[in-house]
Symmetry: none
Subunit: 418 residues, 2 copies
């Protein structure tokens, strides 16, 4: 097949929804004016997609792992390694990576603010003050800041385990004490050893950060100090061939959100981003269109992640979801109109999971999908919507299958058998 | 999600059927007047369901295991453990359980009646005469009667195997001799040991029962004596988290039939039953409606099993199947009209497998399904039927997926990933 064929996969995070009474029983997608999505449905092949399988509810990480070709039922790393990839840290096979938050505690280590007032400035200086500290003579440590209050801790040694609990008490648990990290099952020496090292790290973070000049300044400005680091989501890297490597594709990912960025990096994709991609409804969609076209010149498979749909859904802001969908539709239109080889470019529309506004949470409802391109078996579906796509020619497939279907159109898949 | 949401799953045993010439090429379900089923289809999301996968034909046990969330392709115990659960016997991990029949043999052990004239009275006395007998000094034995001619044998010891054959020659094999139980593969000591013990039990049953007062009375009344116990379906309990435990649901099952009762008990469900639930077309559907509403007050997931459809199908009584479907429809209507929180209650209609009247046996045809509730993506299907549901928004899913889809609507599923 012609190696000149290319594909773009637009992932509308949390797209799928349910009927909303105030919208006359239609979903936000069914209510929005989306002429470009509909034109893709009209000249494409549509269907329903389950991230993993019907009835299985997934997180953003698992939904995207599946769309990037991983089988999360077999390979699930925990979030730590994904976040580590997101900040550019490469993991060795036995490394343990943890997600971290800069947080605010009082002198009794009660958590006053899990995000230290969503601190935006100074975290690189704070991270540097901690990174490389000697926790144990068998373990190397790297600590690196991520966006806002987020950071990543990587431990490298021969006797480590990711089977440990969190020091972070968790979302909505402000007012509770910092938790002591423990082995998930008692009596496993490697896990107990790792828990011990992480507890030392948390103690050290308080000792180093509490009176750090950055925090003295924050206190003077009435801001909560980032005086401790809380840990969660310990995981180990699993060696698995990346998507780019498996299919010899040059992958590009247009993304502002850190988890998807991490998964794209693990998948061997180049990242196309900019500070104006906020991973929210105020993201810079013009910049997204521009980066998509730039990526398409350099790559043969471009994934474009759009987070705003999910943010609006979690807030039950169905009007905001409609408005953002209409803007996103226009962005897709900008890309389609500027394609250099429209007859050689395949477009996929999909989502990582459903987030119905009325539920404000991910559900297992399948999501509508489209593959449009020059020679697909166009079906009778004319609108991109949850119910319209149920009548499409792809019927009901899962995220891995959707990805492979799209990649097959650009001729990069392997033939199994002779 | 709101923990107040509840669901009812109606299982119409053997529902699915094929076109019948005498019905103008319609199926019994397509021919029956079922206004309540149709109302659920109209305000629900419909589809086709395979118990396991397209083309795979299942028994009642496997169909129900799948609808209760087990994967029978991985975990199939044999019928013995299910029947043991049905009569309230709890199995330890190494126990072997067998289904038994009280049967009638002549003096040469030729089987005259595999069901001893479907004996209904006196089996508890007969069972007591056998239970606790010493078969071997390494094995404990429990023997308990079930409904009619049925009973359960449980063997408890350290050196037992369920890999043994049946002493029962099988359905339709009257006139054949009682079979000697053997190891399924010769030379496996634990299986040979277990076969030996079961053979001793069968011999003992004849010695104890042949002249038992209950049987002397039966002979005087011209009834066939229950003078032997035949065994089959040896299996071991497999430790697996029950459905109720996995999803922290309070499950209730309205049921008269013993196999489904056993599976519901293994699944951690409370049983709602009464002697008037006959597991046949003469069952007390009013009582079934009453018990369903009672269960719904105490549980958040209620399974209602209806056996009559399958009984009529096995007898090729398509008129009886239509009549029973219409009565069942009215029963479902009684439940729907009495719901305390109709907008918080999700209704599933399904079946464990198809039993086309013309075939008189289970087939692999998928069954029609519906999920109705306040916020489902209502599709264009307006009738509950094998062909109508093929156009529904669920498309084609399997029994595990149907169960999870229903449970996802009441917000009890787990999110996989963050």
């Amino acid at each position: 097949m012609a190696p000149t064929r290319k594909a773009i996969m637009f992932i509308l995070d949390g797209l799928g929804d349910r009927p909303i009474k105030e919208l006359g029983g239609r979903t936000p997608l069914e209510s929005a004016a989306t002429p470009w999505f509909d034109s893709l449905a009209s000249r494409g092949i549509c269907g329903l997609m389950d991230p993993l399988a019907p009835g299985i509810r997934v997180g953003t990480d698992v939904g995207h792992l599946a769309l990037f070709g991983y089988n999360p039922l077999r390979v699930y790393w925990g979030r730590g390694p994904i976040e580590a990839a997101g900040v550019g840290l490469k993991l060795d096979p036995r490394d343990v990576a943890l997600r971290c938050n800069f947080a605010t505690v009082d002198t009794n280590w009660m958590v006053a603010d899990r995000r230290a007032g969503r601190i935006r400035h100074g975290t690189s200086v704070l991270a540097e003050a901690l990174s490389g500290a000697q926790l144990d003579n068998t373990v190397e440590m790297v600590f690196k800041e991520a966006t806002e209050h987020r950071a990543v801790l990587v431990l490298r040694g021969k006797e480590l385990s990711a089977e440990i609990t969190n020091s972070d008490p968790g979302a909505g648990r402000e007012g509770q004490p910092v938790r002591t990290v423990r082995a998930r099952r008692p009596g496993v020496p490697m896990a107990e050893h790792t828990a011990d090292i992480v507890n030392r790290f948390v103690r050290l973070s308080y000792e180093v950060l509490n009176d750090h000049p950055v925090n003295r300044a924050r206190r003077q400005n009435g801001q909560p100090p980032a005086n401790i680091v809380l840990t969660r989501g310990a995981g180990m890297a699993v060696r698995m061939r990346s998507l780019a490597d498996r299919f010899h594709i040059t992958g590009g990912c247009v993304v502002g959100e850190s988890t998807v960025k991490g998964i794209a990096l693990m998948s061997g994709f180049r990242i196309y981003t900019s500070p104006s991609l906020t991973a929210n409804v105020d993201t810079d969609l013009n910049e997204k269109a521009r980066l998509t076209l730039e990526a398409l010149r350099e790559c043969n498979f471009v994934v474009v992640h759009i987070k705003g749909t999910d943010i609006a859904s979690h807030e039950n802001d169905y009007r905001g979801k409609i408005e953002f969908l209409e803007k996103t539709d226009a962005m897709v239109g900008t890309v389609l109109e500027a394609l250099e080889s429209p007859d050689q470019t395949y477009i996929g529309l999909t989502a990582d999971h459903s987030t119905p506004c009325g539920i404000r949470e991910h559900t297992a409802d399948p999501v509508p999908v489209v593959v449009a391109g020059d020679d697909v078996l166009v079906d009778s579906v004319e609108r991109y919507g949850e119910r319209d796509c149920a009548h499409g020619g792809l019927l009901r497939i899962n995220a891995n299958e959707f990805l492979l279907t799209l990649l097959d159109f650009i001729g990069v898949t392997y033939r199994f058998g002779v």
